[in-house]
């Protein structure tokens, strides 16, 4: 969702050190992970030292603020509870809410607060606290995007344990919206007090200073037994410095440290490499509203031109998976049965000729260096397209210029998304006619109709069928060429067990971690 737009100051030095290190490491069998990270009975005690990415200038303490730093989000997510959370089998699992139920028209949703939920100062969580927190979130500048379709006045309490959310439109996936930032504070917490306000989460704040923090176990957490005594969070500006700290034994976990660091550490037997699949989408966006890619045949041809395996291997160093032009690959409802699109240059050429594509022109593919590999993906795709006689020139833009001039407007550009666990999320944000971030300028009445069916159908089976159809349409016609998904990569010392497995925001789920002896 809000991957920080980090400057690529590091690239030179980082890659230099990595090359040197791997040259000296004499690395053999890189893929083997040394320790079984799940085995054994949990042991109580110990302090886990986590490194997480963040920038000193972007520090945010407000749980309802715009969190640009992974380190801040990590701290907030351990101290405060959201109503629901991302899950493994079910996309949405309970956190502060133990259960939720829709009305028949799928507009009114009733959330029940978990039994025994209490703030760190001992006072129980009431529906009033939740209502106050959700309204506060809704009234922030980014609020309408975080709780779309739910007006502040339509968030109400019913008794002490039930919170009622009324959506403007039917929304079968409403609980999905409450997973990421619905952190609950005590009612009437003053803005000045927010940074120190007690939460309800598995850890209590001991101290916080400039992005770094120490958290202590909450023995009375309603969500179950917490094993660790404490968690220490250190903020890192560069992934390579974080990797160095891990290699030097200064931290136990390097969260979301990336593929370059993974290669660096691959030869170290005492380091666990945790791959969290479906972490980052790096699609190529083709404008559908007008321009050379408005013809669906041209778009399909481009999707046939790309060599997906080569992209994953070269751009992601193999730390990723091939994708099928459908966004939301981490969704349990992702349509795995839609046949994988493969490279077919002959068919691509035929489609381009049918569409009277202008082969004499050179098309600009605009990219940025906001995340590692993005610019490389553009260059590699341009090379692959040349084999189908399509001339593409890669143009690198600085992040600010990109968001100002290219994003949502350009004819052909690369982009990235860090929240990939919901097909509906992408449909609602980026593909439905008139969506706020409709990156390809797409408008397809069949897609819109199916989308409405998906979010307006209560019956599970009928909804699943509609969701499958939605993905089929997206696969065939949308402006997204999604060639692959990058893994989220964490590094950890050999004693850490039960590390987070989920992509995106799931990377902060450290409440069940324990340390082996």
């Amino acid at each position: 969702m809000n991957w920080t737009r980090r400057q690529a100051l590091w690239a030179g030095g980082g890659i230099g050190a990595a090359a040197l290190l791997s040259a000296c490491g004499g690395g053999t069998d890189a893929a083997s992970s040394p320790a079984d990270s799940a085995g054994g009975t949990p042991r109580k005690g110990g302090t886990l030292r986590i490194g997480a990415l963040g920038r000193a200038s972007a520090i945010t303490r407000d749980p309802h603020g715009v969190q640009g730093n992974e380190s801040d989000y990590l701290i907030i997510a351990l101290v405060y509870d959201t109503l629901t959370a991302p899950g493994v089998k079910d996309n949405t699992v309970g956190r502060l809410a133990s259960a939720w139920k829709p009305s028949d028209d799928l507009k009114t949703w009733r959330f029940t607060i978990a039994e025994g939920a209490a703030f760190h100062d001992g006072s129980p969580v009431t529906a009033d606290d939740v209502v106050w927190s959700l309204r506060r979130l809704r009234n922030t500048p980014a609020g309408p995007g975080r709780l779309p379709g739910i007006k502040a006045e339509n968030i109400t309490a019913d008794g002490k344990e039930t919170v009622v959310l009324v959506s403007d439109d039917a929304n079968a996936e409403l609980p999905l919206l409450t997973r990421l930032s619905t952190f609950v504070l005590k009612k009437d917490t003053a803005d000045k007090e927010v940074a120190k306000a007690p939460g309800t989460g598995p850890f209590k704040l001991d101290w916080y200073r400039n992005g770094n923090a120490r958290l202590l176990r909450n023995d009375k957490w309603h969500g179950g037994q917490v094993h660790l005594d404490a968690i220490e969070v250190t903020m890192f500006e560069s992934p390579q410095a974080m990797a160095n700290a891990l290699l030097g034994g200064q931290i136990d976990v390097a969260s979301n440290v990336g593929a370059v660091a993974a290669r660096t550490a691959a030869s170290r037997k005492d380091i666990q490499l945790v791959r969290r699949p479906d972490d980052m989408a790096m699609p190529i966006v083709m404008r559908t509203a007008d321009g050379p890619f408005a013809d669906v045949k041209v778009r399909e041809a481009m999707k046939l031109v790309v060599d997906r395996e080569a992209m994953v291997k070269q751009v992601l160093s193999g730390y990723g998976t091939v994708a099928n032009d459908i966004l939301g690959t981490g969704d349990p409802a992702y349509a795995k049965d839609i046949p994988q699109r493969r490279r077919d240059l002959a068919k691509a050429k035929k489609l381009l000729e049918e569409a009277k594509f202008d082969f004499s022109k050179t098309y600009e593919l605009i990219t940025t260096e906001d995340i590692p590999g993005l610019a490389e993906s553009a260059t590699l795709f341009a090379n692959q397209a040349r084999e189908a006689d399509v001339k593409i020139k890669v143009v690198k833009q600085e992040s600010g210029a990109f968001y100002d001039k290219t994003w949502l407007k350009g004819e052909l550009y690369t982009n990235y998304w860090g929240t990939n666990d919901s097909v509906v999320f992408f449909a609602s944000k980026t593909m439905v006619t008139g969506a706020g971030q409709n990156e390809a300028g797409w408008s397809d009445s069949q897609f819109d109709g199916t989308y409405r069916k998906v979010i307006g159908t209560a019956d599970k089976k009928a909804r699943a069928a509609a969701l499958r159809e939605l993905q089929q349409i997206e696969h065939e016609k949308s402006g997204y060429l999604l060639w692959g998904m990058a893994d989220g990569i964490d590094l950890a010392g050999s004693k850490v067990r039960n590390l987070p497995k989920l992509p995106g925001y799931g990377r902060v789920q450290f409440e069940n971690v324990w340390l082996a002896r």
């Binding site: 737009r5 290190l21 200038s57 995007g145 890192f236 560069s238 160095n244 030097g248 210029a401």
Partner: protein, 336 residues
Amino acid sequence: MSEAAIEGAEAAAAPAAASALRRSLRAVGRTGVVLAKRALMLAVLLAVVFAAIELLPGDAASATSERGESAADTAARRRLLGLDRPVWERFPDWMTALPTGDLGTSARGEHVTDLLAAPFPNTLLLGATAFAVTLAAALALGCWAALRPGGTADRIVGFASGIALALPEFVVSIGLLLVLSLWTGWLPAVTLTAPDGSPASWTMLVMPVLALTVPQIGWNARIVRGALADQAAAPHVAAARLDGLSPRRVLLRHALPGAWPAIATGAATSTGMLLGGAVVVETLFNYPGLGTVLSGAVADRDTPVIAGVVACTGAVISLVLLCADLVRARTLGARP
């Protein structure tokens, strides 16, 4: 001594005291003028910073927006941050608040003074330590080389300092990291922060300081050596040598005092290089200083934060330059 003589001496002392007072007043006045000039320079610099960020594509509202945010929401935040007003209105507002110590609010709603409260002292500590090490090492090496012009020491120092000054900080940093930390494990690879916001251990300062000083020692050792060579040709130094004084005494008592202005100027310019290099070095070693704040703030187009960093570092550099000017004035003033 007769009474008359005593009276005479007192009478003579009075105008001497008056002239001393006048002299010191003049010195204070001169310093005041220099200070005012430096302050004006800083104001101009800050205006340039505001203008430069204005020229960059995008603004803080869009750079710090969340991906789920609509254009209308971003526009609302732009109004909230006051970015819809022209830069010539925002700059005077920020400048007039500056003397009260108010550096404004960051694009994410934090007070800039809070954001800089811990990093600024940390960078000062890093910079001051690096400055002291640079000066001491450069003086020692420069003098050692100048003792026997053309000798082995001179050639070694000349050669090594040439290489050192050509090395960028990040190359030195990575070399130090590999050798001193990842291979040998002697020093911690990165700086971890104690609860009070300062580095958790002094050993964490060693590599950042070394990374900053190596290029600057190279540069300053050459300046010291060059200034001493110039002085060696001066008549009073030649006279001292012909008087048969030891080379060490000639160097320290007769050549070095005259070389001070050049050395001070060289060292003062190093301040800027040290603070500039800190941006890279702090990132590489995760040192919690201004450099890391600055690089993030530029990406965010966060004008108040950038201007706050520039104001702090600019003030430090101005102060050091002022000291260098005073050293020069004193040395040159002693030899009219």
